[in-house]
């Protein structure tokens, strides 16, 4: 788009509501992301994978889905969750493992809840990909008109689960959309050391599927591309692999120090392409918002997140007995006995069924 004037929203078929919702959610994602990072530093959150600079991928793909569509994310999809309508409070309850944590403190995943059709992300990379294919195949069997989307990183494309899942989908053609969030780093490994292919998108070609590479720092490009693909797949089109090229401005997780393996110059180069700043520039240029409204919007979001963090920090935590829940639909005697032992040891209340 550089060098020529960006098209008007009407030309793109976008309302100002579309634009402000996506922009607002990107800002919300950034603000919440920064809070989660601080909460990790305070020892309130065990580990966190930041999403700074990558908001357009989650928000653009999330906005392209309908509520009934199902998302199999990886661990950096905060933007998609917020875009799908998950309240900040519920994400904080999850991350702080309060008594209202929908995933009961069992695992890290930033979020997951069947009510929102979001499957909690697994930590082992790429393992969700064949699951998404299977979920989509079942929806075909059941005659549902839903689309299943799975999002994964560039590192995931080195794993068998990616190739095996995409290959399977290329044979059976269920309604699944593969989205690669190519943020160019798998911890310290640059994508150029991850694959000999010049793009991730081209990997689709070998499986007889379409691959599309999109500017992952342009939320409108991500949204428009994904929406077109999602609707085509919903209408019976073959699966598609979308590669959203972005950049991991932050560390891999709070355990990582990127200064060990990349230069500050490189980071600064990409910081200039900040997707939120780009969208803000576009909205102001097109008169959708003005500076004053933008300042007010940011202040409102800061206030909202700060208040939710305050609230969540006051919530009680989970009881130890929760660790015995959900191992099986009904616990075998071995587990009941062990739960009793823990109860005796810690003077806990009754173990409830999962």
């Amino acid at each position: 788009m550089r060098g020529k004037a960006p098209p008007d929203p009407e030309t793109l078929g976008l309302s100002s509501e579309d634009l402000t919702r996506m922009y607002r959610t990107m800002v919300l994602t950034r603000v919440l992301d920064r809070y989660l990072l601080r909460l990790q530093r305070m020892g309130k959150v065990a580990l966190y994978a930041e999403t700074i600079g990558e908001e357009a991928v989650g928000v653009g793909t999330g906005y392209a889905l309908r509520p009934e569509d199902v998302l199999f994310p990886s661990y950096r999809e905060l933007g998609a969750f917020l875009m799908r309508g998950v309240p900040v409070s519920e994400i904080l309850d999850r991350m702080l493992n309060t008594v209202d944590d929908p995933l009961k403190g069992h695992e890290f995943a930033i979020f997951g809840d069947r009510r929102y059709n979001i499957v909690p992300a697994p930590t082992p990379v790429a393992t969700q990909i064949p699951l998404a294919v299977g979920y989509a195949m079942a929806s075909k069997v059941k005659g549902e008109r839903i689309v299943v989307m799975t999002i994964f990183g560039d590192g995931a494309t080195s794993k068998g689960d990616f190739h095996e899942g995409v290959n399977f989908a290329s044979v059976h053609k269920p309604p699944v959309v593969f989205v690669c969030r190519n943020n160019q780093y798998a911890i310290s490994t640059h994508v150029s050391k991850q694959t000999g292919s010049s793009t991730i998108a081209q990997k689709a070609v070998a499986y007889g599927l379409e691959g599309i590479r999109v500017d992952g720092n342009d939320v409108l490009a991500v949204y428009l591309t994904t929406r077109a693909v999602v609707e085509r797949v919903r209408d019976g089109g073959a699966p598609v692999l979308i590669e959203a090229l972005t950049y991991r401005l932050g560390a891999h997780t709070t355990s990582d120090d990127p200064k060990r393996y990349r230069t500050e110059e490189e980071v600064q180069r990409w910081a200039k392409l900040d997707p939120i700043e780009r969208m803000r520039g576009y909205l102001i240029a097109k008169g959708v918002i003005d500076e004053e409204r933008d300042v007010a919007l940011r202040a409102e979001i800061e206030g909202l997140v700060a208040a939710e963090v305050e609230r969540a920090l006051q919530r009680p935590g989970l009881e130890p007995a929760v660790i015995f829940e959900d191992v099986y639909a009904s616990p075998p005697w071995t587990l009941l006995e062990q739960a009793e032992e823990l109860k005796e040891l810690s003077g806990l209340q009754k173990v409830t069924k999962g």
């Binding site: 065990a46 493992n97 069992h106 310290s188 490994t189 660790i323 062990q338 040891l345």
Partner: protein
């Protein structure tokens, strides 16, 4: 002797073997430029170059498979799997190839690969950064399984593993990486595989354990001593092959064995030890064989202290054993 952390001792062992034997290569995710996520391979890339310190794509299956091929062709690869929780991506290569190469080829080809992986909980790591999967590998004929608990043992056992003619799965308790420091012998230092270490002598109860749980056992033993109970702590160090002689000696002495490990109870390695004691030392027993283990749940993110075989739980088993 040099004071080292556990992670530093691993680093020292790798450097020592790479200097001594040019067949030794290191491969894995983030092991080169980044020096490993736990810093175990720090500076090795600078010292030995990219043909011997290999940053790999994100694929546990290929890391292990490629290491096997290298070993078949004469190298001594040390593959790093970033967390033992991710080793399952390479399970097929480990179980179907690595463990069976020598047998399947009747010795024509063999694969002396070391697979290093951080293991265990206690770092708020949740389900996929905390597991103790050693029993899967102990159950696979053809693999040796080593789990050191001190910096010196980490160095000595890793060097022995690299020099071993057979594949070794080398599990490093991650909560010890940077929390422990001790004098580690300089230069060439080996600890034989298959030999346990008597960490603490005692007369009344034997706690048989390995890995990071050794420290929980020692704390429990300390507290038991205050109650007048003398506890022996045996660190197996290697679980395949394990030191039956050391176990039987201790059981004959105390008659009261307590087995402790982080991995879950059902079909955990403690079951193997308990079965052997039942088969061969049942007449030495003064009390039932007891186990203190992780519960039969996936490793939980919250309340991991309760899940782990903490000193309180081990002490409780010691008391129960003495009361029997």
């Amino acid at each position: 002797m040099t004071v080292m952390t556990f992670a530093k001792a691993i680093n020292d062992a790798l450097r020592h073997e790479m200097k001594r034997d040019e067949r030794v290569v290191v491969l894995g995710e983030d092991v080169g430029v980044n020096g490993g996520v736990f810093r175990c391979t720090e500076h090795l890339l600078m010292e030995f170059g990219p043909s011997r310190v290999i940053d790999t794509p994100l694929s546990e299956s290929a890391i292990i498979g490629v290491a096997i091929g290298m070993a078949m062709n004469g190298l001594r690869p040390v593959a790093e799997i970033q967390f033992s929780d991710f080793i399952f991506g390479g399970f097929e290569q480990l179980v179907s190839n690595l463990a069976k190469i020598r047998y399947r080829n009747a010795g024509h080809y063999f694969a002396p690969v070391v697979v290093r992986a951080p293991v265990g909980g206690g770092v708020r790591g949740g389900m996929y950064h905390s597991q103790s999967p050693e029993a899967y590998f102990a159950h696979t004929a053809g693999l040796k399984v080593v789990i050191p608990s001190t910096p010196s043992d980490a160095k000595g056992l890793l060097i022995s593993s690299i020099r071993d003619e057979d594949p070794v799965i080398f599990f490093e308790p991650k909560r010890l990486y940077h929390s422990l420091r001790e004098d580690v012998p300089d230069g060439d230092y080996t600890v034989p595989l298959g030999k346990a270490r008597l960490v603490r002598e005692g007369d009344d109860v034997s706690v048989i354990t390995y890995g990071a749980t050794v420290y929980d056992a020692l704390e429990a033993a300390e507290r038991a001593a205050k109650e007048g109970v003398s506890v022996e702590v045996l660190d197996l160090r290697t679980i395949v092959p394990y030191d039956w002689e050391a176990i039987s000696r201790s059981v004959r002495k105390t008659g009261r064995p307590v087995i402790a490990h982080e991995a879950q109870r059902t079909a955990g390695f403690g079951a193997e030890i308990a079965a052997m004691i039942a088969e061969r030392e049942i007449y030495s027993l003064e009390a039932p064989v007891l186990r203190v283990t992780g519960y039969d749940t996936p490793f939980p993110l919250v309340h991991e202290h309760h899940y782990l075989p903490n000193p309180e739980r081990i002490l409780r088993a010691i008391r129960r054993s003495v009361a029997s």
